[in-house]
Symmetry: C2
Subunit: 342 residues, 2 copies
C-alpha cells in the first residue's frame, strides 16, 4: 500500500445537513486523498470550514468546477444540482457518488449499499447512486434474510426524523420547542404543519396513486438493491418529532420457513447490523442510541403469527450517517479499495 | 322522556388523566343522572373538583363505597382497583363500565365500542369492559370494512402518545422539553428511557413470545370486538413524543375484492369515522387535529398493491377521549337509552 495512488475529491453541497455529516465521516476514514474541495450554491459560497484541522473556503459550484480533474465527487445538494452537474463531472472523468434521488432508478446507474451490493458499484458508468435513507437501513437488515429465507412480501411503516428534511426541518422542530416553552411566535420553514407534538404522514410529494414519493422510493429502491424487481412491498412513511435517526416497523413474510433463533443469528452475523434485542433488560433500538454511527440497529425481532412464515423487526439508524453521508463515504472507500486491488 | 328515570353514577379514579377526561365528557352529555360521586385512592382523596359548576370533594374508595346504591360506575383507576372493587359494585347492583384491561378478555364480559357492538353491552352480567385505546380507534375504522369486505389479515404499527401512560408519561415529556431548553436536570417518572426526541418500541410489559402486552391487547381485543376469534393479526406498538392522540399505520388484507372509492365511501358513512383524505390539499389525519373529540380520523387510504385485495390506512384518535373516557361515557349513554327503551 506504500505506493497507493492518491485521489482528488470534490464534495458538492458541503454546507447542508448531509454535507456536514459527510465531512465528519471523511475525517474519520483514512482515505488516500491528496486534495479535498468543497462546493456549494452561491448562497453558502465563501463559508469557511475546518476540515482535518485545516481551514477551507467553500466555493460556488459552476460548469467549470470539474475542469481540474477530480477523481471522485460526492454530490449531496439535491436532485437538480445532480441532474445538471453530475454529467459534467463524469465528462471530466470524475466518478460521482450521488446522494440525490435523481439517478437512483436509472438502469445504467448502480444503487448501492456497501454491505449489500458493493459489487454493483464496481461496474459503474461514472455515477453511483446512494439510496434513500429509509431504504438503506431497511435493506441492511433485510438483505441477509432475503438471501437465507427469500422474502415474499414487506410492509414498511416508518418513524422518520426531521433531519431527513434538512436544516429547515431541524429548525422547524427547534423553533416549535422554544415556542412551546417561551410562548413566542415562529414560522414553519419546511413542513406543511407543526411537527412538534405531532406525526405527519406525508414525506415528499404525493403521486397519482395516493402514495408519496418517499413511499415509492422505499418500494422501488428496495426492489432494485435486492434485485427482486417484482417483490411485493408496501409502505407508509411518517415524520415524527425526533431530531435525528429514523425508526422503521418492518413486517416481512418469507417463502421459506425459519427458526427464530436462526434468524436472529443471521442478523447478528450480518455486516453493518447490530442486534439490540434483550427485552428482559429493556434493550431495543431507539433513535437516541443510533446517532453518529453507520451501524443499523435491529430489535423487537419476533415471529409474526398471522402468516405462515413471517417476522416483525424494529430497525433504527442514523439517517444522515448510514442513511446518507456515511453510506456515500463507505461507497467511496469500497471503490478505492477495489481499484487498488485490480 | 319526561318521566325518564334518573340514575346515580360513581366515577372511580376521578383524578387521573382519563378520570379528568371522563368528567369533561360527562359534562358535555346531557345524561339523566341525579347524583355524581367521585372516588380516588387515598393519595388524591380530599381533592376538590368542579363538575357541572358545582364543587365536589373526591372521596377515598373503600369496600363500602357502593353500599348506597349506585346504578352505574365508570372505573378508570387501573386493573388492581377494578379487580377488587368492580365485583363489590356489581354485588350492590351497580353496572360497571371498566376502563382497565382486567376483565376485557373474560368471556362473561362484553368488550364494547358503541359504534361497533353496542348490542353486546346490553347483554352484560354487571361489567362491561372498555377496550384498549389503540384497539378502539382501529376497530371503529375496521369494523365497517370487515362487514363489507371481510378482513383476512391486519398488520398494526402504532405511534402512541404519552398521555396513554397517564400523568407520569405527560410529565416525562414536559420535563424533558423544559430540560432541553433550559438545560436543567429532571428524573423520569414513567418511561424506561427519555421519550423526548425518541421513539420507544415498548408499551406495557414484555411477554414470553417477545411481544408486549399492549401488542397482545390489540390482537386479542380486535378479534373479540369484531367476533373474529382466529383473525390473523400482528402488531408493533411504539411510544412517540406526542402529548395526546394515538396514530396507527394499519395494513389490511381482505377476503373480497374492493373498489377504492367504494371503500372510502364505506368509511365516510361509518359511525364515528371522519375521513380526512384530500392529499392534493395536504389533508390527512394528525394527532394535533384529533384532540378533544370522540371521532376517529381516517386518511392516507390507498390500495396496497403488494397483495390481491389490500389497503393501507392512517388512523388517528384522541386516546384519552375516544380511546378511554369518551368511549366509556358513550357506553353509559347507550345503556341508559337501551334501558329506557325496553
Amino acid at each position: 500500500m506504500i505506493n497507493m495512488k492518491k485521489y482528488r475529491l470534490a464534495l458538492v453541497g458541503a454546507t447542508g445537513v448531509v454535507g456536514r455529516v459527510t465531512r465528519n465521516v471523511l475525517e474519520k476514514y483514512n482515505l488516500p486523498i491528496s486534495e479535498y474541495k468543497f462546493f456549494s450554491s452561491s448562497r453558502s459560497a465563501g463559508t469557511k470550514i475546518v476540515f482535518n484541522n485545516e481551514e477551507y473556503t467553500v466555493e460556488e459550484l459552476n460548469e467549470h468546477s470539474f475542469d481540474n480533474g477530480f477523481d471522485y465527487a460526492i454530490f449531496t445538494a439535491g436532485g437538480k444540482v445532480s441532474e445538471k452537474y453530475a454529467p459534467i463531472a463524469v465528462q471530466n472523468k470524475c466518478t460521482v457518488i450521488d446522494n440525490s434521488s435523481f439517478y437512483r432508478m436509472d438502469k445504467e446507474v448502480p444503487l448501492v449499499v456497501p454491505e449489500v451490493n458493493m459489487e454493483d458499484a464496481e461496474r459503474n458508468n461514472g455515477i453511483i447512486a446512494n439510496p434513500n435513507c429509509s431504504t438503506i437501513q431497511a435493506v441492511v437488515a433485510l438483505s441477509p434474510l432475503d438471501r437465507k429465507y427469500r422474502i415474499k412480501r414487506i410492509v414498511y411503516s416508518t418513524y422518520q426524523a426531521v433531519s431527513g428534511a434538512g436544516l429547515g426541518g431541524i429548525q422547524d422542530l427547534e423553533s416549535a420547542i422554544e415556542n412551546y416553552v417561551a410562548n413566542t411566535k415562529y414560522e414553519l420553514k419546511k413542513f406543511p404543519y407543526d411537527i412538534f407534538n405531532n406525526c405527519i404522514p406525508h414525506i415528499d410529494d404525493f403521486t397519482d396513486d395516493r402514495y408519496t414519493k418517499e413511499e415509492h422510493k422505499m418500494i422501488d429502491e428496495t426492489r432494485k438493491i435486492l434485485k427482486r424487481s417484482n417483490l411485493p412491498i408496501t409502505a407508509t412513511t411518517v415524520r415524527v418529532p425526533v431530531f435525528n435517526s429514523h425508526s422503521e416497523s418492518i413486517n416481512v413474510e418469507f417463502e421459506k420457513e425459519f427458526e427464530i433463533n436462526d434468524l436472529i443469528e443471521t442478523l447478528k452475523e450480518a455486516p453493518g447490523v447490530i442486534v439490540k434485542d434483550d427485552i428482559s433488560n429493556n434493550i431495543y433500538p431507539m433513535p437516541k442510541d443510533a446517532n453518529n454511527q453507520d451501524k443499523v440497529l435491529v430489535g423487537r425481532i419476533r415471529r409474526d403469527y398471522s402468516v405462515k412464515s413471517g417476522v416483525n423487526l424494529w430497525v433504527v439508524a442514523d439517517n444522515t450517517r448510514k442513511g446518507a453521508g456515511g453510506n456515500a463515504v463507505q461507497i467511496l472507500n469500497g471503490l478505492i479499495k477495489y481499484i487498488n486491488k485490480n
